[in-house]
Amino acid sequence: MSQILPAIVSILFHGVAYAMILYVVSVGLSVTMGLMGFANLAHGVFAMFGGYITVNLMNDYGVPFLPALVVAVVVVAAASVVLERLLYAKLYNAGEIEQVLFTIGLIFMSIAVTKFLWGPSPQHLTLPDSLKGEIQILGRSFPTYRAFIIVLGCVIAFSLWAAIERTRFGARIRASVDNRRMAKSVGINTDRLFSLSFALGSGLAALGGGVGAEILAIHPAYAIEHLVYFLIVVSVGGMGSIRGPFLAALLLGVSDTACKYLFPEIGAFFIYVALFAALLWRPAGLFGRA
């Protein structure tokens, strides 16, 4: 018992922290795919730029952590709207294949651009002193930074849920996910809705990239390296939902951590087997609505 309990606590704590980052980055992708039917493989690019901007502002301009995050989120969200209007919008009616090709192209370009601007090395976050070290919870010590991430992730998840379920904007999004043509015909400006939710999703990704820079290291190949995990969250969670990706991220984060902790030899293999089984059992995602 003395062995088992600490192990469970360790796995849950680190698994949930990891899950929160996956969730914050991926939830925007879930909305994009559910709302616009757009297979945006380049979603991680927004997270990566969020991370780069945060780190850059902090290290080179001495901006504190939280303001740097805010700037990163605003800049990335604004830039993403421009991209959405100029390029993405032209492809909403194109096939899956074109969307995949286009977004892979964006990933490739982002690799070169970040390498040009910031060099090939990974960027490292210098945490503010308040997030360094460890805190004591119930007689055990945990890294403060990860505890902060867990709290932040839960706050974001709850706010999103409230925004989608309790506001007019959320009602419009839900309506458009369910039936885009009907939503349009009852007078919802779907174009503007798309832009807004795209910006929101990208902004959240930027936040995830910035906050999570110590867990998912920021480097030029970020968008492609973590793509599979983002896609797992979306597909297992069910597209277009807010709750689904949250549960899927928790499942992925905790089981991934548990595998590394308990059975490091078969870790990655188990994740893919689980993905395979989950999607065969529930093709629309474990928490999808279909």
């Binding site: 390029l87 090709l101 286009f102 192209g105 490739f108 651009v113 390498k115 896609l231 065969l280 093709p283």
Partner: protein
């Protein structure tokens, strides 16, 4: 209309179905162009034969994907699974004393085909993102399995010690890649004939039907799932041949033959050339590989940017790939 265009629904014509089938199956002069180019390249660029052999292997690989994606309409991110199975089969055969290359090709095709049939039977019940993720899961599982079975596959360090007997007992695989080039060209030619026969057969037509109108195919009582699994297995077997060729010509197999990256790369090549028209592979693979070769030479550090820009441009301005653009120009000219 001159090109047989599987992408556009066939217009009602006066000719009988038999005439239509025969007409579309007739060999046209431009279908021989790739082979003229392949022979010409052998004579003109003797020092580019290694790249040439690689290009032909990728053409074969993209062709196998075209059968699955272009004709049967199955979008997959895991096609490299079968390339990898073929490569490891051929590699392991050669390491354990079966150095005869041609018979090894058949064995590799059979093993990859069986893996394709089994995984296809399971995953082809789904569509869209779920299917993408399932195919991705298959390739990732196999990759991890190969990684963990280090004592058999060499794991992350790669499978070493592949020694091949001379081709037909006569031609040794040489450093300049002459034999490898001719070998790849002949195998590609044989596979091309086979695929051509297949897509113009009633079976191929029914695949196009599945892609174009699934509901109607169900309605007329076609065994849709079985057709798709069959196509998937054939595509897998052909991809296995491509993988086996790769293992034999480079005499080395590494984990990246069975990766998400390679699945993505072959998808890009096919889309660049044009999907569902048999010749997209012949244009897309060389275009992508030569572009990559040149760009990485001119700009070894930032060549990714130019490849990415090329992809974005193709989607924005050249939908349907090179062949799609060709169509547009052709139709403009005809007007």
């Amino acid at each position: 209309m001159v090109l047989p265009l599987p992408l556009t629904r066939s217009k009602p014509t006066a000719e009988s179905p038999v005439e239509f089938m025969a007409r579309s199956h007739r060999l046209r002069w431009y279908e021989l162009l790739p082979w003229v180019v392949a022979a010409g390249a052998f004579l003109v660029y003797p020092s580019y034969l290694a790249l040439g052999a690689q290009v032909m292997i990728m053409v074969l690989f993209a062709l196998s994907l075209d059968l699955i994606m272009g004709y049967a309409g199955i979008v997959t991110l895991g096609h490299a699974a079968f390339f990898g199975v073929g490569a490891y089969t051929a590699g392991l055969l050669a390491v354990h004393g079966w150095g005869e290359p041609i018979s090894a090709l058949f064995v590799s095709a059979a093993v990859a085909g069986v893996v394709g049939a089994i995984s296809g039977y399971i995953v082809l019940r789904t569509t869209g993102l779920t299917l993408l993720m399932l195919t991705l899961a298959v390739v990732s599982m196999l990759n991890e399995a190969a990684n963990k079975a280090g004592s058999i596959t060499g794991g992350a360090d790669g499978l070493q010690g592949i020694t091949l007997q001379p081709l037909l007992g006569l031609f040794r695989f040489d450093l300049y890649g002459r034999v490898a080039y001719i070998y790849c060209a002949l195998v590609l030619f044989a596979v091309w004939l086979l695929v051509r026969l297949l897509v113009h057969s009633p079976f191929g037509r029914s695949l196009t039907g599945v892609r174009e109108n699934l509901v109607r195919m169900h309605a007329i009582g076609a065994p849709v799932h079985r057709r798709m699994v069959t196509a998937y297995a054939i595509g897998a077997a052909l991809a296995g041949i491509a993988g086996a060729l790769q293992a034999q010509t480079t005499q080395f197999v590494a984990l990246n033959v069975m990766s998400f990256d390679l699945s993505g790369a072959v998808l890009i090549m096919l889309i660049l050339g044009g999907v569902g028209r048999l010749y997209g592979a012949f244009l897309g693979a060389p275009l992508y590989m030569v572009a990559q070769d040149m760009l990485s030479r001119l700009d070894p550090v930032y060549w990714f940017f130019w490849i990415g820009l090329l992809l974005v441009m193709v989607v924005m301005f050249a939908r349907g790939g090179v062949l799609g653009v060709g169509d547009v120009i052709w139709h403009r000219l005809k007007k």
